[in-house]
Amino acid sequence: MIDLARRLLRTPQGLVGSALILLLAITCVLGPALAPLDPEAIDFLGRYAPPGSAHLLGADQLGRDVLSRLLVGARDTLPLALAATLLGTMSGALLGTLSAYLSGRWDEAIMRTIDAVMAVPGLLLALLVVATLGAGELNAALAIAIAFAPGMARITRSVALAARRMDYVNAAIARGEGGGWIVFREMLPNVAAPVVIETTIRVAFAVMLFATLSFLGLGAQPPASDWGLMIAEARPYLHQAPWVTIAPGAAIALTAIGFNLLGDGLRDAMNPRDER
């Protein structure tokens, strides 16, 4: 594990990605303490204040400090996006490995079901789920997880099929192990590398998807300062105060870049053959 971290930090992408994500993590933990002003304090006279000494990133249509809202909003945005991704990728990985292990009719049944689910575009599926369960942050996270699982199951299954053919799995069957042990202890650890890398890349998608849902009013509800919601609320005033839209947009982009770079770095770090 320590070895992996060292290899990760040796690649430039890994180093920059890790630094960006550390920065985001600090924001999530200390956000409210770092915020210079009350994110929900309305200042009628300071509406549309441009970035300056009073408001570093400007103020929005209600005179609320954009920087403060951004710092506090990190808490609403990132942990949920991360949780949704983890839930989606983990369940997908488990399903894919299980499908590869069971093979035959079960494999066929699971994979064809997943094909059917994949035929519906991710955003549409998420919309469908939220529309059924009702708007709200947790439901949006669940919707994202469901939208992510099928793709992940496909990727994992292809790797798990290779692991299934390995003799250590045959050896486990030959000594009489049950399916649970084989899936969890013999196969899953060996399909982890692509799963972890895919997960980091999907976190960025989750932030976007979450922002999209909030933007459509199906995720976080006002006056929460979720980044996607911030963009949605500021959209009508784009011409008067572009900074209100640009700041959260840049924050989302930064998150996406951070996780993508981390994924790139992990891909190199988890391939020990690259050692030479």
């Binding site: 035959g104 250590y168 069957i173 000594r175 202890r185």
Partner: protein, 528 residues
């Protein structure tokens, strides 16, 4: 007369994160015109690195410290990339170990031969086609015109290797490097390739560097043999002399480890009671499809008995169904027929319960894939012990049993050598104190000296625990040293089941199946 290839004081290092590693140290070799030099070494001895150095295809982290490589007087190291391209293929031919990966699967065989001819001999497409037909004819392939239009996957491994050899000889090079050309092939096919090699050599008088791990084989095909050990040439002499009277201690060990059928390692007789019996075992691969069934028979009608304390050798070529039989007996595939375990009849894998699995264990061919790379040795051994209702505290004893330090329990498989990994796999199989261990080509991926040590270990374990072995191999010399009886398989069926004495020189050959006779004839007997 100046040599075709002359290597003087060649030293090569690889830079890794752990520092520099010297792979070739002061290597000096010379190959004269029409001469074959055999280069023998175990894995990691640097023999392949030397081949790459000669063809100037070294990895980026390689550093050449000293020495020179000369092809007919011209310095290969001083050549530019463009000059090297005109040397490769035209003046130095190369034949690799695995013909399946040496040929491009998306090009026809014809294209892969004519390409060489057009590039290196400047022939027009029509002339190249004619020359290719001649070249394929020359390597003993029937109907070369038809073969030209086929793709590599449509022909057998032996035919593929013949095409590779034809392509290598087609440009009339001065030197051909053979890198284990028969290792990936069956015994009989390999023997034919060696015959071809001898014939082409006599006809073309080409100089050759023949790289192999098999000392017995090299001493037969080469005029001179150089033994390489950890990047150093330890001994260089005429082929027969190296084998008959090795001077260096390392070569002596290597020669002693070569299996010889006349030197029996087992002298006891098995007991009369039957431990396990396979009755009419049949296995088919492939599953029913929507339109019709496409199925391949892995085994058909195989019946044999294994006695208590017996070593039953199973021999045959790849694809003959040896491993399929092992998989059926351990319940890894569905089978028809039955397995009789004492008084019980088992007809499907689900009926193989704890007691059966404790009694019948398996060791696989590749230790790399049979040990989970994410588990430490401790976990690899603890799990079978727990399943067999035994104590985890027995792990040190298990490791001692296979002659491994007890500290190895905290290591990962990739931190072990190939032989050590196979020892861990054997320890795992013995965790439940089995009555029968199925050994599926367990030494095929190992060096000769390591193979020797593993065989001794197996026999020692057998002496201590009275274990029976079903020993699957393609190496007739090896199995004749240990087996009580031999089962010969071909195309999924058992063709011969006989006591090992029936194979000895003074036994009646008429008692053997023609295929068995062919197999014996193709197996190289060690000289000396």
């Amino acid at each position: 007369m100046s040599p075709i290839l002359e290597i003087v004081g060649y030293t090569l290092e690889y830079r890794t994160h752990g520092g520099t590693r010297r792979v070739l140290d002061d290597v000096a070799l010379a190959i004269g015109a029409g001469e074959v030099l055999g280069l023998v070494g175990e894995s990691g001895s640097g023999k392949s690195s030397l081949a790459w150095a000669i063809t100037r295809h070294l990895p980026r982290n390689a550093r050449e410290v000293a020495g020179s490589l000369r092809l007919d007087g011209a310095d290969l190291r001083a050549m530019t990339a463009r000059e090297i391209r005109s040397v490769r293929g035209r003046r130095i031919g190369m034949v690799f170990q695995d013909p399946a990966s040496a040929l491009n699967p998306t090009l026809t065989l014809g294209r892969q031969v004519t390409e060489v001819l057009e590039l290196h001999r400047g022939l027009s497409p029509a002339d190249a086609r004619a020359a290719a037909i001649e070249a394929l004819n020359h390597v003993g392939l029937h109907a070369p015109e038809a073969l030209l239009a086929r793709y590599p996957h449509e022909v057998s491994g032996g035919e593929k290797q013949r095409v590779v050899i034809a392509a290598a000889f087609a440009s009339r090079p001065e030197l051909i490097i053979f890198d284990e050309p028969t290792t990936a092939l069956d015994v009989i096919t390999g023997a034919r390739i060696l015959e071809l090699f001898a014939r082409l050599r006599a006809e073309t008088k080409v100089a050759a560097l023949y790289i192999s791990h098999d000392l017995a084989l090299v001493s037969r095909v080469a005029d001179h043999v150089a033994v390489i050990h950890r990047g150093r040439i330890v001994e260089q002499d005429s082929g027969i002399d190296v084998f008959r009277a090795p001077r260096e201690e390392y070569t002596q060990r290597l020669v002693a480890a070569v299996p010889r059928p006349e030197r029996r390692l087992v002298d006891d007789a098995p007991r009369a009671d039957i431990l396990l019996a396979a009755e009419d075992i049949g296995v088919t691969y492939g599953r029913p499809r929507l339109f019709g069934r496409r199925q391949v028979a892995g085994n058909s009608g195989v019946s044999l008995q294994i006695h208590a304390g017996e070593i039953l050798g199973v021999i045959g070529e790849s694809g003959s169904g040896k491993s399929t039989l092992a998989r059926a007996l351990t319940g890894l595939v569905d089978f028809s027929g039955s397995v009789r375990d004492g008084t019980r009849r088992i007809t499907k894998p689900k009926q193989m319960d704890r007691a059966y699995r404790d009694r019948v264990q398996i060791v696989f061919q590749h230790p790399d894939s049979s040990l989970n790379p994410r588990q430490r040795v401790h976990e690899i051994l603890a799990r079978p012990l727990r399943i067999a209702r035994r104590q985890v505290s027995e792990i040190p004893r298990l490791l001692e049993q296979v002659r491994l330090p007890t500290a190895y329990a905290s290591r990962y498989p990739h931190e072990l050598s190939g032989g050590e990994k196979q020892r861990v796999a054997i320890a795992r199989a013995f965790a439940s104190r089995p009555a029968l261990v199925i050994c599926d080509e367990i030494t095929a991926a190992l060096d000769v000296s390591v193979q020797h040590a593993i065989m001794e270990l197996l026999l020692e374990l057998r002496r201590a625990q009275g274990t029976s072995y079903l020993f699957i191999t393609h190496d007739l010399n090896l199995v004749r040293q240990i087996a009580h009886r031999l089962a010969v398989m071909r195309r999924g069926a058992l063709v011969d089941l006989l006591p090992v004495e029936a194979l000895s020189a003074h036994a009646d050959p008429a008692a053997l199946h023609p295929y068995t006779r062919e197999l014996i004839a193709a197996t190289p007997t060690p000289v000396g």
